[in-house]
Symmetry: C5
Subunit: 356 residues, 5 copies
């Protein structure tokens, strides 16, 4: 649930090419997709992954699934003239989402979110999983790295294959945009699920007094905090893409403006959920406080009425030899009368104070 | 109550023309109003909805009620040369309020608010309903889209028909301003109702201890949060209209400045209500805390006085064969005296501590 | 207490001249004061209220008491060439404090504060009353509107009449400054009274436990919130006056800088009072929490000691035929001894836990 | 403790020379110090207090102790060509710390802090006293005003007299810097004392449960708030001194940068103390909440065990003629057994819930 | 735990060279390292510590361990032409992290963090220790001061000695970067430990109800606050290094951008831990509130059921001579029946209210 932290050994020189994620054994897979308005070819393997020449395809997209093979990633880095610090960031799955512009390419890091439903000890909780996505945008090429083979880019790849809409008509900058847009769509999905959970919690809380409310609020808050941590840098990232040197056309700029708008929408929905869940806990505490008052009121009423009555009963249960009242014939009914009077007076008092 | 969320399928290409609201069956209605200082004509139907030519009327206003008919909206989009992303936003009733300038038109999204009074389980709550309004301002024309036929624009339309004041003297930019101004007036109405409710709640809370206070505070807060979410982007929207390229005249600028001022006034009233309702809950909790202290004080006094007395009574109710005190003739009055002393001492102690 | 809200009918065209305050019957009064270094004349009535000509007096000040006579206000507006939106704002006593510059005059709205002491249900509360003041500054003239005849401008008028200090030496811009300065002085008075009330509350709260503390804190907070709402826009207003085109001389600029400084001082005092009253409630709640602990401690001690002892006494009050202990001669003193031991052990335990 | 407020009569014209502090009788004292690298002369009295001529000393420092003699201060103001608003601020000991630049001099107001230890009702509290310091920096002269004769400038005066370090080598701007630097040093002292108090409170709070904790936290918070109010404007003041026209040399700029750094250090220490004292109260409340739970747990355990047992004992203490159980020989031991079972079951239940 | 404060005597002139840390006796050690692409020499002692001449080594790094020897530090300061204020800051181990640019060198102060695990009274707490590091970057030389001999620079020194990577290829600016980068790596370590502790606390808190939770939260919060205080100025410091005049090459700029990114990552992790620990306490308080309700519910149920029953039993335990019920043969079973009815009715009531 909590994001894993960077495990870099403090003594390492900056820019050293070392893989810093968990150990993985599966082979990394490189898919090279060349396309343009007139057609598309797909090849798999490192040998095809070179920057396109002057008479190459309109767009070459090299997608790398898995970043634990340092040699392959370094090799790609050299072919595309990437800075050692870029390689270091690609190899470290705990990098921070960001955007950096280098003289002839743009380097973006973003997080692909997934939400896992976990049933644990009668509580349904959600586990936010994030996978790191690196996107490098150059002239005529896009280089992408995913931590593991997954569906992060599947929808975009399908659109490019089918050639629907403007997918193949536009350049590498539009591809980079479309990939980030796909990631942002996942944030909508994740937030929708969390918002539904907040709403469900709200219904439960306002109707009854669910035992696990504070715990469930705690878990959802943690999820929202995590999503927020991933989302905030995205705004800066897309801003950098918009400025992005001469690499981004005016046409794609309009789409990026729309994307910024979507990210703000996600961000607002996130803040709304955070507010709602915070308000929920406040309301719950206020209601709990009212219940505590009610409970203690009932206790106080019961004790304040019956303690004096019991004392009187106890008094005349004493075995002293000389207790003249015990002999009076009308003493018992008189005492009962006194008791009724006391109880009545106390009840009247409580009613006056508004406790009944 | 909670705003519906965007339901876009993550795999769709951006700019795809698909209706994303709830299913609707009624036909969409197009009203074309041509007017200038000298007169006004109104026509209904798609065929009349074209951009005005050079010798056309001073202002052509095309109002579309309902956006669920994709074909009609796309057709209009093509006639007026709208960007596919504009069409996508028009068709999605869950777009975010915003303003975007395109080369030859300005695109605004705002929300038309309505407040529904709902009586539910002895609690009066308010339901904030929002309907999306799209306004496109070009040279000599204004194109508006409403989610459903309603009264959002009725007051302005009436003013234009009657030709009162400067309604027909001024251009399309003034019409766009007047439409947004009408929406802002509804925010005043909504906030007035909510402020009255806050005030009523305050009166009740400070006089008595209404059972449902936390719940009602919770519901009002949610309403205010929703209104705020709709209102905040309006400020940016009007700012964009003020900058709005060459489309807005200096004369209309003054009116827009006045409008900005109104929006700030709504915003301040909103914040004041939020503050008031927050302070109300704080005060309620503080008063509840005081009551808890009072309740527990009474309980403690009752128990601390009667528990020892009852113990003494119980002691002399024991049946031991050898209890010499029981035989002493003055034992009973002496014990009564001791009990009075104990009660008196405890009462004095409580009075000294300020509990009585 | 709560500021009245704008009651504009949503369907009205902007810039329509309609009075939006409460109904009033008294006649509005127009005082025209012409003055310069050499002398002063005062006239009353609309006919004298014209902009001064080139050979007119150094400064013409037209003061209007009451704004409910639409005709008179509109007439004045036309004579001085005011924009319809200015007239609309003057006629609406619920306008927001602001400053707007028009080509040849500056338009300022501010609020004149008054604090009314109200004794209600044994609680002293303060009612913040605000009256709207409009100031229009042109070349050689100042036009002022007050909601009702009052003392808002009396001190300044007196200074001008007497001709003390630099009152008559300087131009219309200095008069506008002096009028606003007079309003700011009232904020000092209001805040001084409220600060004294906060201080008094603080003394009471730290010494004893006043029953009505949360309620009184609530009322003062509301007053401070209201003053703040009036004060904040004043800073912007004075800033606009400082920039104010060619209408304000360098000499007056120094006075305006001083005035800004005063407003900041009021603002800091306001924030200090808000902080103090907030801290007061926190401290009160913390002290109340400590009391609750003390109260419940005493209850727990009393109950935990006497419940077992009473049980033992009850046990030997039973009437079973076969209860051999009852016959033993030393049983009674032995039981008393056991009871003393139990009480002593419990007392020791409570002392060890620090409850005694 | 609370800062006294400005008592200006609202009707006074701005720039009127009136003393607004408390009444004082002692005579004000004027010390004129002329110095340069080669020597120093000190004179006392108004007659020596004139701006230095072209062949005057390198630096003339006129220090005025006491500002309640309006005539003397006005006289000085005229000699040095001060603006009436400067005189008004000098005479008002409740002015706000600030910096203002006039054509040929710079005007600074700062506060000299002192901390008084007060023992009141078994609580040690600190009283923050502030004295107003005005510094006017001109070409070759510095004019200073203190509310009362005190040690605010003693350390600097001593350094100038002795001529140690660069004290006499540098110009009037360095003297102004050194005076402000001396004031800032006192803020360090004040904050050190308050921080020590916070630390002592923290030790007490985490070890035991001091009765007066909320009250003492309240008092320290008020002190810190007061220091903060004095400190914040100092940053702006020093910034104004840094910009300060042509009056400040590049050499002194370095020292001012160092001073800004010191003020930020004070400010950070202040915020740290504020945070610490806030966290302390939160922790105290959380611990108090835990204690309340413990106390109520013990009460609940005692009552839940002994109430049913006492009821059973009471049942068999009844005097009904026909209660066959009373005659059974094994009834008494059986009842004792039942009581042990009930107590055991309840204890097991409480242990299972983790209450024991 | 709390950072020590500056102990400067207020009367000292600014720029005075006085050591302001704790007294130390060990000798200070000066290590001079000359290196370039072709080789490296290391010498120890003050005599070697001179700025490199035009034909000197590529980089001269003078590292001073210990700053309590005023004479040596002053001597070094003169050789390298440092400003007296720089010397004052170097000698004061309580300086604030900052960056200052002087005409021909850059002066940086940062803090080297260490985390000590302390076991105290059954609680594990962490002690944040900070050591001051001063870095001076000139043309071709770097001068560093550490409070005490330690491992702050060991990793970098080792890399330079071995000549791995680009350590020896680059200039003095890269060395300065590498030293700061080493410090930042320690912040990662410290935060990782604290985050683990927060996570452990979270596990404990959500599973059970650890007694010491508020205290442990308090201690961790204090640690995080301390780290934050050290970290925040680092961002400004690195920013100053990035601007750093002509002293920093474009190549090193890229590394500094990466470093800024790391500091932001540390900062985000810090804020995440602060949020998490705050949320933890909120959740704990909410859970404690629920427990209090449960505890008081049980008490109320027990008391409300058994107090009336005990009263009835006490009633028929009285010894009045005339109590006819006592003689009725069916009175005892009838009373038992009434008691069962009362208990049943109360239990039903509690079940209806949801307390059972």
């Amino acid at each position: 649930m909590r994001e894993r932290r960077r495990k870099k050994d403090g003594g390492l020189a900056p820019g050293t090419a070392i893989y810093m994620g968990e150990d993985r054994v599966e082979e990394i897979r490189i898919t090279v997709t060349d396309y343009g308005p007139e057609g598309l070819t797909e090849r798999i393997g490192l040998e095809a992954a070179t920057p396109p020449g002057p008479d190459g395809p309109a767009v070459r997209w090299i997608d790398v699934d898995g970043v634990h093979d340092v040699a392959t990633v370094s090799e790609l880095g050299q072919r595309f003239g990437l800075h050692p610090l870029v390689i270091e960031d690609v190899l470290n799955p705990h990098s921070r989402p960001k955007a950096e512009d280098y003289p002839d390419h743009l380097f973006l890091i973003a997080k692909h979110l997934q939400l896992l439903r976990v049933e644990q000890a009668e509580i349904t909780r959600f586990d936010v999983r994030s996978e790191q996505i690196c996107v490098l945008l150059g002239r005529g090429w896009v280089l992408t790295f995913q931590e593991s083979a997954g569906d992060a880019f599947e929808a975009v790849r399908e659109r490019v294959r089918v050639g629907r809409g403007r997918a193949r008509q536009m350049g590498a900058d539009y591809l980079a945009y479309a990939l980030i847009d796909g990631l942002v769509d996942r944030y909508f999905d994740v937030l929708d699920t969390l918002s539904d959970e907040v709403e469900a919690l709200e219904q439960e809380a306002l109707l009854g007094d669910p035992d696990e409310l504070p715990l469930r609020v705690h878990l959802i808050r943690e999820d929202l905090r995590l999503v927020r941590k991933m989302l905030m840098p995205l705004i800066t990232t897309i801003g950098a893409l918009q400025r992005g040197g001469g690499l981004v056309t005016a046409e794609t700029q309009l789409f990026l403006r729309d994307l910024t708008d979507h990210v703000h929408q996600v961000s607002e929905q996130l803040e709304a959920s955070r507010d709602a869940v915070g308000a929920l806990l406040d309301t719950h505490l206020a209601i709990a406080g009212q219940r505590l008052n009610e409970i203690n009121q009932m206790l106080t009423i019961a004790a304040t009425i019956f303690l004096p009555l019991s004392f009187l009963a106890g008094l005349y249960g004493m075995n002293f030899a000389w207790m003249p009242e015990l002999e009076w014939p009308w003493a018992y009914p008189a005492l009962l009368g006194v008791m009724v009077l006391i109880a009545g007076a106390l009840l009247t008092y409580f009613r006056r104070r508004g406790w009944l």
